[in-house]
Symmetry: D2
Subunit: 343 residues, 4 copies
């Protein structure tokens, strides 16, 4: 069986595991007050060119999204999010659990939010009997693999800041976005355009961990207490620091993200050649072919993947294949070689 | 410098790290739906003799406490906890953040709650203008190293169940408690007496992870959704399963806890011989000598420890030394050998 | 200026004010433990034919909706609501403030939710990474004046109970619904079909107050503590009891609601005759004509009303007129007489 | 039976009821956007000499306390309160329901918090693993009838502002405090010393309503949305404005509070003469004699009062008598005349 189910299916990149093992026998202070976490934070500040910025590690994506977005909002304020955004769609109400409403906005197949969608919503919410929109949540790459261009992010950032909104970028798959052939955005761009974003480790080679960046220290005050209150402080905090050091100090993070994207592109091209239509032509490590019920069943006989959503054409389904740092080229090539025989 | 600061200062027991490394290259399903997590859960059910019980892994202690206690309570209900209990004292209001009041009860130096303390509190809260106490939180070992006997736990459990209260046991240091020379409690006892408890991994040889047990499946319904809502579902869930398998399948968990306790006893006896009074004669891996300001400073010149609280005697301080699975016997012996020269 | 702005624009029906004034000089026990509240609750139980049911008074609509819906839900559960429902649309996230997600469902102009809309939503939410839908919120009359028939409510109730959902009916305008010419539902029907509903006082002749009914006492346990926790217990609770007694003991509640409906029908017919199209042909006390920008301005020169939403036709607006117990027939007739001259 | 149970036992002062009745037949805009509310707010600003201050009406004490305190706090921040403060003691966790911890401070029989009690608590909470104290809640008069002097309030205010704490004053019985013979505080003093306080109507002659004042408009931004989110916006908002106008425009509020205090003093003096010791010598409208079990029973045969708490002397009980605007002098005199025969 060929495994294309997700990008959090393997423990960690070998270099990350080695770095963890190398600490064996060493005593460290807990809760992130250790030298590895400090060095990793410094490195991230350098890479993002925000020397005064706050960097804090969180354990997973839902926790990072919820903790950061709730940190920024007053009780009567709401977050705007694409309807398909993870914050809205897949977190059992974890964000609402902090007492805030999400104002969902319908988006296209690329999952991207555009500033021109927001004025009517803002206009309507000037009514003080409604929540006050105060933050825009987006993800890059989006949940459907889309990548924001620098022009798009700049427009969104400018719109937000002109309208009293903070901009938060969910970076669970930031590696895939920044390593995509269509990308023209850098970490310093993100630090300049977003009020907060995170560099996702879990889906790009770490055992666990997301590095949240709040570039403006004035916006970050007391964040550690919020993190503790959310049960998000890892006792052995250096585990996170060590992993991000291993991933970021020599560019491994982007190398393995690029590999995952390339494997996805290879797979996407192959499926197109085999006649499977695409729901969306993805430039990152998640791809979305459309299959009839019969095709879906035949593919499922040789590969692990996920059903995504019903396709617009009746009786067809959008299915999702995901590649990762750990997807061997041979797996893609062998699958593409075997698939015609099955279909 | 001799390090006695805490029991979460080293990554993980070598056997745990080996088990994690052995998975390299293997694809697993996420969110705990993997075979290692299943086997670890089965093993825990077997060890606890609760074949129908629920076992779920959480990442750390605050998260386990808050998620489990909030899971059981209706919005108008409160948790009773020792004033020094972790739920009350050290979690930045993480439990109140779920919308519940804590009713703190003053306890002695051993940190143990006794059923005879509860009737006046229950009596007062029959007033429907007050919160309804619905759960008792205790920790074993307690935050000050105390260990509940089977008779004490039985009395507390019987009192709770006769009064409509659930009993939750924070087991962040359960290994230390169950491996203490004064202990007469077993895992099956806990599964019989408590409505929920957890087997703490973080403070006893795991990188991270706490195994929450709800012995009665009728009480556990929908827990996974609660866990997700609390941002507590780890994408690479098998990391937790693998670690608990390594720790529990051949008793390593209790062996290393016993080692930590023995090192603490050695240290405590040595300090007593050197004339330092004890705040509380601890049977587990945390010990609490009392030092004058001058003594405290001299000890700090050769060892890492923590200040705990002011001592009853003016000008003196209770300080805390903690040992762990990773504390070498030589560290204790050398420290005790060097200390007289310093004092 | 003719006032048609809303149905909470006049203090209270004279009989209600007299009943309040008659208590002058009398001492009463607070918090609803007074004889007037008891008698009013008994009367409501009798009218609803649910002798064991719980009746509790709340102060206003948002408070009644939020307190009751949050009372029924576990933390990981969500309420399904029409997108235009008050719970979703107009309460500054008051419901999300209790930690729950709302799953909005698009509905037609009548504002009514139909059971056939729910299966796809329920199907999707079997995924335990999503909230669990556990309650359906509707309002009767709806926010756009629609009235549920007994067949519709029965179908919805049966669907809910077959699918593990509770049914909650917001009755802020229940008087208007039950007194509408198209209505065939009674209070005992509501008590049989809904798990909770309220009889709205604020919008039908009371100074304030909504009477929440939970017909099954097993579902109502501890509700008073929830009410207190929500800041919803009125110290001088008898104020609410006295008002509901005055409104309900001889049918005044339905008489004045019928009057409001009749005034609305008179107005709606008149506007139709004057050529204004209707957004929706309302059978209750809120009506929704469509006006061009010019018409809207001219009407606004002689009457108070509210803008509702943009009309489907570009440049046109849906406007809302509301009548109440206190709308004199002459006001409607005079307005209809004056309007042609203005238009 | 003589009624001394509480000060919310009678509907409203006749002048208040007349003012409400005088509005019959008048149409008003809802939600507080009416001219009566505006005039009442202006009057309060004038009386408090804070021309730019925010005034908003809330329905009851718990709602006012919870809404205001939660409005000011970030999620990780806590309120400091006297252990006997209403916020801590009698609200079913309504404040914790907003996600915040209360840090209770033990106080004496007068219920007053003193600045010298706070430094150790502040010191301890510099630890970022604990909540951050950010607001001090007190009540004036206190729950046990105590009254803060101007010197005491000034000291507390200065301490708070020097330590990054806001000062909130629960004024449920502010009338009693400001009309007490021992009082030297004025409304402008409160507006100068407190960051927020409310003028309680419910317990001093209104049907319902508390007038919250936030003197500094910069601190009050968006308060209306918070109020709506808490279900605290009354549809017929003018009810509150009209009542506060009636109470405040010619000093009635203070006249009737003084009457209540005088009746309490008469009663307290009489009980002392009859040999009943006092738990606390109260200068306001709540008094606290101590009775043996036999005395308590005999008094209960002719009067309504409440049990307050066990007395320090074994077998004795502190009981509470409360007077109000509606307590006739004859009631006190007759009771004192009859009591000796019973005792």
């Amino acid at each position: 069986m060929y495994f294309f189910r997700n990008d959090y299916s393997q423990g960690a990149h070998p270099k990350v595991l080695e770095a963890l093992a190398a600490l064996s026998g060493e005593d460290n202070i807990g809760y992130g007050d250790d030298p590895y976490s400090s060095r990793a934070k410094d490195l991230i500040r350098t890479l993002c060119r925000c020397p005064g910025g706050m960097v804090e590690f969180l354990i997973g994506g839902t926790q990072a999204n919820v903790t950061a977005c709730a940190f920024f909002l007053n009780p009567w304020e709401a977050a705007i999010a694409p309807e398909t955004g993870h914050l809205n769609g897949h977190e059992v109400g974890a964000f609402e659990a902090t007492g805030h409403k999400i104002l969902p906005v319908e988006v296209g197949r690329d999952g991207k939010l555009r500033p021109e969608q927001l004025p009517p919503l803002l206009e309507r919410h000037q009514d003080t009997h409604l929540t006050k929109p105060a933050l825009v949540y987006i993800s890059n790459a989006t949940e459907t693999g889309g990548v924001y261009t620098k022009a798009e992010l700049t427009a969104l950032s400018e719109f937000c800041h002109a309208n009293g909104l903070l901009l938060f970028i969910d970076g669970a798959r930031l590696g895939a976005a920044l390593s995509s052939p269509v990308n023209d955005v850098t970490l310093p761009d993100l630090a300049r355009l977003a009020d907060a974003f995170y560099i996702g480790g879990t889906k790009n080679g770490a055992l666990l961990g997301e590095a949240l960046v709040i570039p403006d220290p004035a916006l970050a005050q007391d964040f550690f207490r919020m993190k503790k209150r959310m049960g998000a402080v890892l006792a052995k905090g250096w585990i996170q620091g060590v992993q991000f050091l291993a991933l970021l100090e020599d560019g491994l993070y982007f190398d393995i993200a690029r590999h995952a994207n390339e494997m996805a592109a290879l797979l996407q091209d192959g499926l197109k050649r085999l006649g499977l239509p695409l729901y969306f032509d993805s430039p990152t490590n998640q791809i979305f072919p459309i299959a009839t019920a019969a095709q879906r069943e035949r593919i499922a006989s040789i590969a692990h993947f996920e059903d995504w959503c019903p396709a617009p054409e009746p009786g067809q389904t959008v299915i999702r294949f995901v590649t990762s740092f750990a997807t061997p080229r041979a797996r893609v090539e062998d699958f593409l070689r075997d698939l015609p025989g099955v279909l």
